[in-house]
């Protein structure tokens, strides 16, 4: 089935992220001076302002930081409502947004902040694989 949700429009410095995604790898920018990972990708380290940045492959694991259930939605996501959006604390540090998988949007109270999640990639077009996060069954 054709992917019918918004597909990210890319900048010039995020090529390694999208190339990694094609191979099922979660790539994160890391500062070679202070060794800290940051997200979203910058032109400069937001922690120490070094420009010696590199891309590293991440574990693809993390935990739910917070979440919400989207009921009133307009646009391409509307047919999916209700669905759960979440911010994920990455094992390597910093945070990503996702539409959370493996949860019941009708039972938001059952979703646990701190629950472990793992990344997976969905093909959106020939060139784009989009990361989504899924709750790991305990």
């Amino acid at each position: 089935m054709t992917y019918n949700k918004p597909i990210p429009t890319r900048g010039t410095h995020t090529v390694p992220f999208w190339e990694g995604a094609k191979e099922g790898k979660l790539m994160l920018p890391r500062c070679q001076d202070c060794n800290r990972v940051h997200w979203y990708p910058r032109f400069i380290c937001p922690h120490c302002h070094s420009t010696n940045l590199e891309w590293v492959e991440a574990s693809g694991e993390g935990k739910i930081h917070t979440y919400a259930v989207q009921h009133l939605v307009f646009g391409p996501w509307e047919p999916e409502a209700p669905y759960v959006t979440a911010y994920i604390d990455l094992n390597e540090g910093d945070r990503m947004l996702t539409v959370l998988r493996g949860v019941d949007p009708q039972k938001p109270e059952d979703i646990k902040i701190g629950a472990r999640v793992k990344v997976e990639f969905e093909q959106a077009n020939e060139d784009t694989y989009i990361p989504f996060w899924r709750v790991i069954e305990e």
């Binding site: 990210p8 429009t9 995020t14 032109f43 979440y67 989207q70 959006t85």
Partner: protein
């Protein structure tokens, strides 16, 4: 005799992006900004982290977030090519007045590269139109859009951290509606004025339609039409007018982030810093505030902000409403116009906050109806706090009534 700003500041460095001209490999406006800023820092030896004020055409909060800095003076004046000269002027005033010591005026515009990848001068970073930033690139796939879709995440985290409940916040909507029923100008003043107007119960707030769980529609502000203006004058001018002055005793501003993706602590906003600056300037504290006008885009916004302003302990903001303190007749009236929740909110609610604060402190807020006294309070001091973006930017004022 020279003007007040004479020699009040100096330019201490000037730098450009790594490459300028007709670039073979296209660059984004954002990248050109960042390169120039990095080079300026290297040239002057002033670390980027020491920058206190940021001036750019249109997207200073996005730039600051990218740099990981939280300045206390944020200017985005964008009126064309002369904007940067104005930025310098504004920076001089900010420095002269003692608010900041170090200001960055910055520019990045990929006029040539834009032919290949889109973009231009007042924002825009990516390939093609409509890409605001790398944060947008990494967020746009995930079905968020409206303000409630974002703010709901903060409410969930606040409930998780403090054990608060949706019912706690529902009291904010209920009490704020009570104020609106004293204000005939409020959109939700009465059933006659609006089918959904008039008093509401906590249960009604809880049971109303879900927008973004846990936010039901009655936890959300309206989107209506509003226009307003305030006049600011010098003490000398004010003395010659027939209207009552309300004195600007303190002011402060700050930001936490531009995109919610970068919100460090979902239970806190930069209002703690903007309020600290305003209180310090005013020489007053939260205990001396007799009225509060707090941007209530959502009930959770009001609750968190009350905590940030020091009006309640962390996790207890909602108790101001739940225990009746914020209600008509309470010890600390809050949002006496009926708030963004029930008075009016057109998208940006900062102006109604100012208007109501002025009316209250100048004694012109009576709006008495049904033979009631109305919403006029006896407050002589008021804290006003506006919140912008996705709990991103904040501006705080401390106002004091004329003697």
């Amino acid at each position: 005799m020279p003007g007040q700003l004479y020699k009040s500041a100096a330019i201490v460095g000037a730098a450009e992006a790594n490459e300028i001209g007709f670039l073979a490999e296209p660059k984004t406006s954002l990248q050109l900004h960042i390169e120039a800023i990095k080079n300026l820092s290297n040239q002057t030896g002033v670390p980027i982290s020491k920058i206190e004020g940021v001036f750019s055409t249109g997207w200073s909060s996005e730039l600051c977030e990218h740099l990981g800095i939280k300045p206390k003076y944020i200017d985005t004046t964008a009126v064309g090519g002369c904007s940067f000269e104005m930025h310098v002027h504004h920076a001089m005033a900010a420095i002269h007045s003692g608010i900041i010591d170090i200001a960055l005026v910055t520019h990045g515009e990929n006029g040539f590269s834009a032919r290949k990848i889109g973009g231009r001068g007042t924002g825009n970073y990516g390939r093609g139109a409509g890409v605001a930033s790398p944060a947008a690139e990494m967020s746009m796939a995930y079905g968020l859009g409206s303000a409630p879709s974002n703010y709901a995440h903060a409410m969930v985290r606040h409930m998780h951290r403090y054990g608060t409940t949706t019912e706690d916040y529902a009291h904010i909507a209920k009490v704020t509606r009570d104020w609106a029923t004293l204000n005939p100008r409020a959109a939700m003043y009465s059933k006659e004025k609006h089918p959904f107007g008039g008093p509401i119960s906590v249960a009604q707030v809880e049971e109303s339609r879900l927008i973004a769980w846990p936010l039901t529609i009655l936890h959300c502000c309206m989107v209506a039409d509003h226009g307003g203006a305030v006049l600011i004058a010098s003490p000398k001018v004010a003395a010659g007018l027939n209207t009552k002055p309300v004195w600007l005793a303190g002011a402060g501003e700050s930001m936490g982030h531009a995109n919610m993706l970068e919100m460090e602590d979902f239970t806190a906003t930069s209002a703690s810093r903007s309020a600290e600056a305003a209180y310090t300037m005013a020489g007053m504290g939260p205990g001396e505030m007799e009225l509060a006008m707090i941007y209530d885009s959502f009930t959770i916004t009001a609750a968190i902000t009350a905590e940030m302003l020091g009006l309640a302990a962390p996790g207890e903001g909602h108790t101001l409403w739940k225990d009746g303190h914020a209600a008509p007749g309470g010890r600390l009236p809050i949002n006496t116009n009926g708030g963004g929740l029930s008075f009016n909110h057109s998208g940006m609610y900062g102006m109604p906050l100012l208007i109501e604060a002025y009316r209250q402190l100048s004694g012109t807020a009576e709006d008495g109806v049904h033979g009631d006294v109305g919403k006029q309070t006896s407050a002589k001091t008021c804290i006003v706090n506006g919140t912008g973006g996705a709990l991103s930017t904040t501006g705080t004022l401390v106002l004091v009534a004329d003697d």
